[in-house]
Symmetry: none
Subunit: 537 residues, 2 copies
């Protein structure tokens, strides 16, 4: 994939998941989300991580109060150039940007005469002065500076001279990058290619970036067209998050840049082959964090991206995968699936057992039973791909045995809401669990913030001789998905746990009843910990 | 949009939702589905409807036993050219195709020497003879004939002469269309444009089609690149259905061809402006039929395609929609939305009030209080942008008043799990709700699949004089998000409801206790319905 010895041009990746991606309808990042995603992007080999818009909302201001520890990526703050009629030193927005703990500042300014007139209600000259003053001030403050030229392509089509003046002004004032934005997302790839081809005559291509939106489903093509015409920075988001139809999808762009010789022969990006191999996991981690169902059909990283269903294709793929695959699934951390034969399901399961270090023999009829059992359970909603610990327990139980360390004979959870003596609404959750541990009957009760918390606390309050093994167990995350819609539908619960060694694992439960589904996942988590700790049966 | 008087070239649309789309992982059409979708496509103005692969499976054979009544569209059967070493008259696959009640036959044959050798294990000469014989036979039987050149682009890159020979052989044997397929979906738009540019020197462009897959997220761009290079038929599917990452998405292509002057000035398609206005409905109908959640971020037809969330963008959109919209949402049957969120200010709230028809005066200090209240509640997890009905209730309560139709004095939900007499695990959920309706105290109890379902049924079992207003109320969707991770974190519940008129609304609840959060959202839904119905206070 990499061609050592030849000279390739460097392409820079700029991620705006935490800024433009935060505009996605239904996405609300917490501070912890933002911190975790910044690390995820840094680990992936992204060059610039745009964290948000300090000064615009309390969350982003807090996020920029302390610079996150990133290895490779430059942490970038976004904000507007100074307002019309104000000086830079008298503009609170610019002040917030300069105060932000960031390596780079990405200003945004309009590059369309129409927008300047209608949306800003100011003059072209004042707009250019605002760009010049803001870039100069940020550069003087020691920051790497870029300018997002908002509405660049629409602006260029209407008044090329003014759009170019905006770009050139930023470049001449010292901006490292001038980013051409297709803000409304309506520009066609051939137009992008032609216009960027003109712009490079005014601003050098290795100072030009592209920021595309997906409103005609061509954000990826538009980004690549700009690169072909000379731009050397691509802005995008993980999973194509973003307002309306989203931004250019870095999870599609990165593999294309790395794996397609049309690009990899000419360009190099900071993402290594090994980092590319973690791309599917990065994509899935973001979805999990946002509790969004992953797009099964996403290019490269989707669950179905390398799935073959047709008979004729399937047999060809088994003869030689290259017949129906444009790249190797493993290169992005994905894997091939053929949905025709039992043979295919079986090889998937064998690979998972090998990854989990679970002993088996290929000729064992129990292996066939495990494959069947997995199929049946996945058909009713279990998601073993996401729940490694539940998969491992099921596999160990089917192929060998797992001790019945203890048995829950009964549980009872109650949630009551009423008004107390001073008229406040009070909600109380109480759980009682009856457990049989080696013939000894233990009853525990606990209150909690909610029914699942109460149940969790009660279950783990007293497990007799096993208590010592689970003391370090903590629940890290709890996710719920309704599989068919409506409160009568089936509920899938995923629970992520962690122990004192820092190991994390995920378990799954499925039931029409959310409490039952949660309890299954809790039980699997405790059993997994006991197996892992080598607790005596 | 249409330019009468100028001469535009005709572009043909070929839909393969019922054939290639049926290969989508998780899609299983019934006969009734296929009949309904064929009519839907015909009503949309599609030129060719590919119904399936008669002879390959009983469903498709049955579908082609009687020709569906279509107005404009030509009903097309798909199948393989005769097998190597057989005559056309002795090939059951070709016989099934000729028997099918179809206007047109679309054959598929490999156009790659590598594929012919590895997958078919035959010779290039035999492959060309198979194309020639099959096209000739179908034409002699009075059908319009096309050939899908499978793997055309990969084949061209490896052995251009052979790929071109396949295309030319079909054309010379009388095929109306020779369709160039990017079967593995890995070709880049600029490669497509260059290769189609070569092919038109051998087969006239008005006999060439393009069949693109989305494996690099560029199926739409690839289709348009082929048109720019001379191809005059586009194959695709509704909502981009299809194996792996899907086929070229007609729901994105059709609006671009109709609304972007780069294409509409040069080309004309059979889809009228009025048919285009029904596109969003067509897209949604297919999703409903397949019970798939619509892609909110789909270009043109997605629920979020014309949604604005940012403060600065929102105020500009309110000044002039053209500032942030690349086409008019109504042209595809969609509409503009400006969301209420913590990033948006007062002007956004005002726009939301106007859309909701909620009376207010701009100088009212209560309006300021509402803006503050929204910010505070969003800070603790409420998501009013997603929950229009909860927003409306909060706004009406803050700006004016909403009757306290009834008051829930207490509820109690219990979930118990135990083993029954025959050793089966049994889970029972029971809820009791005490309600005060105008001084009358009503107590209802109900069982449910889970605690929220039990609570919902109990709450709506008896609301006294209001019962008549809520009889048509149904819960459509229930979504849960844990905001900080762990079972002790805050839970956000979104509930979508529908009434007998088909109107849908969404409500939100937030609490550390999932039952409390769910109950808030249930209560808001019932209150919204009572307000909407004009129930007396």
């Amino acid at each position: 994939m990499s061609r050592a010895g030849t000279s390739r041009e460097r392409l820079y990746l700029f991620d705006t998941t935490l800024r433009d991606g935060a505009q996605t309808n239904g996405v609300d990042f917490t501070l912890a989300d933002k911190q975790a995603i910044a690390r995820l992007l840094d680990d992936l080999g992204i060059d610039y991580v745009e964290g948000g818009y300090p000064g615009a909302n309390p969350l982003d201001t807090e996020f920029f109060a302390v610079k996150p520890k990133l290895g490779h990526a430059r942490f970038t703050a976004f904000g507007m150039t100074r307002r019309a009629g104000r000086s830079v030193s008298n503009d609170p927005g610019v002040a917030a940007l300069l105060d932000a703990k960031a390596d780079a500042i990405c200003f945004v300014a309009k590059a369309s005469a129409y927008q300047v007139r209608v949306a800003l209600e100011t003059t072209n000259e004042e707009n250019l002065a605002s760009i010049r003053d803001s870039v100069t001030a940020a550069k003087a403050a020691g920051r790497e500076v870029m300018l997002d030229c908002e509405h660049f392509f629409d602006g260029y089509k209407e008044n090329a001279e003014f759009a170019l003046a905006c770009a050139r002004t930023a470049y001449e004032a010292g901006a490292r990058w001038v980013v051409l934005c297709d803000t409304n997302g309506g520009t066609m790839p051939h137009e992008i290619e032609a216009i960027v081809g003109e712009v490079v005559r005014h601003v050098p291509g290795d100072h030009l970036g592209i920021h595309a939106h997906n409103d005609t489903e061509q954000a990826v093509a538009n980004s690549l067209a700009a690169v072909r015409a000379g731009a050397r920075q691509i802005q995008g988001t993980l999973n194509g998050l973003g307002e309306r139809c989203g931004n250019a999808n870095l999870c599609s762009l990165i593999p294309t840049l790395k794996l397609k010789t049309e690009f990899s022969d000419r360009f190099e990006i900071a993402v290594s082959d090994q980092q590319l191999g973690g791309l599917m996991k990065v994509s899935r981690t973001l979805d999990d964090m946002l509790n969004r169902a992953p797009n099964r059909h996403a290019p490269y990283v989707g669950e179905s991206a390398f799935v073959t269903k047709t008979g004729i294709h399937a047999s060809a793929v088994l003869k030689d995968p290259q017949t129906y695959e444009h790249v190797l699934p493993e290169s992005v951390g994905n894997h091939r699936k053929v949905l025709v034969s039992d043979q295919a399901g079986r090889s998937n399961v064998i690979a998972a057992l090998e990854r989990g270090g679970i002993p088996f023999t290929k000729s064992d009829p129990k292996l066939t039973r495990l494959v069947e059992e997995l199929k049946e359970r996945e058909a009713i909603g279990y998601a073993y791909e996401s729940a490694n610990a539940s998969f491992e327990l099921l596999a160990r139980r089917t192929l060998g045995s797992v001790p019945e360390y203890f048995r829950v004979e009964q549980f009872d959870v109650n949630v009551e809401q009423r008004y107390n003596a001073v008229g406040e609404r009070v909600t109380v959750a109480l759980a009682v669990v009856k457990v049989d541990v080696a013939g000894e009957r233990l009853i525990s009760a606990a209150e909690g913030n909610g029914p699942v918390n109460a149940l969790d606390v009660a279950l783990r309050k007293d497990l007799g001789k096993y208590q010592g093994f689970i003391d370090g167990l903590k629940l890290i995350d709890y996710r719920v998905r309704i599989l068919n819609g409506g409160t009568e539908a089936v509920t899938r619960v995923l629970i992520e746990s962690e122990d004192e060694t820092g190991e994390r694992w995920t378990t799954v439960g499925v039931s029409p009843n959310i409490i039952d589904a949660s309890f299954q996942a809790l039980m699997d988590s405790v059993f997994y910990k006991l197996v892992k700790s080598g607790a005596p049966g």
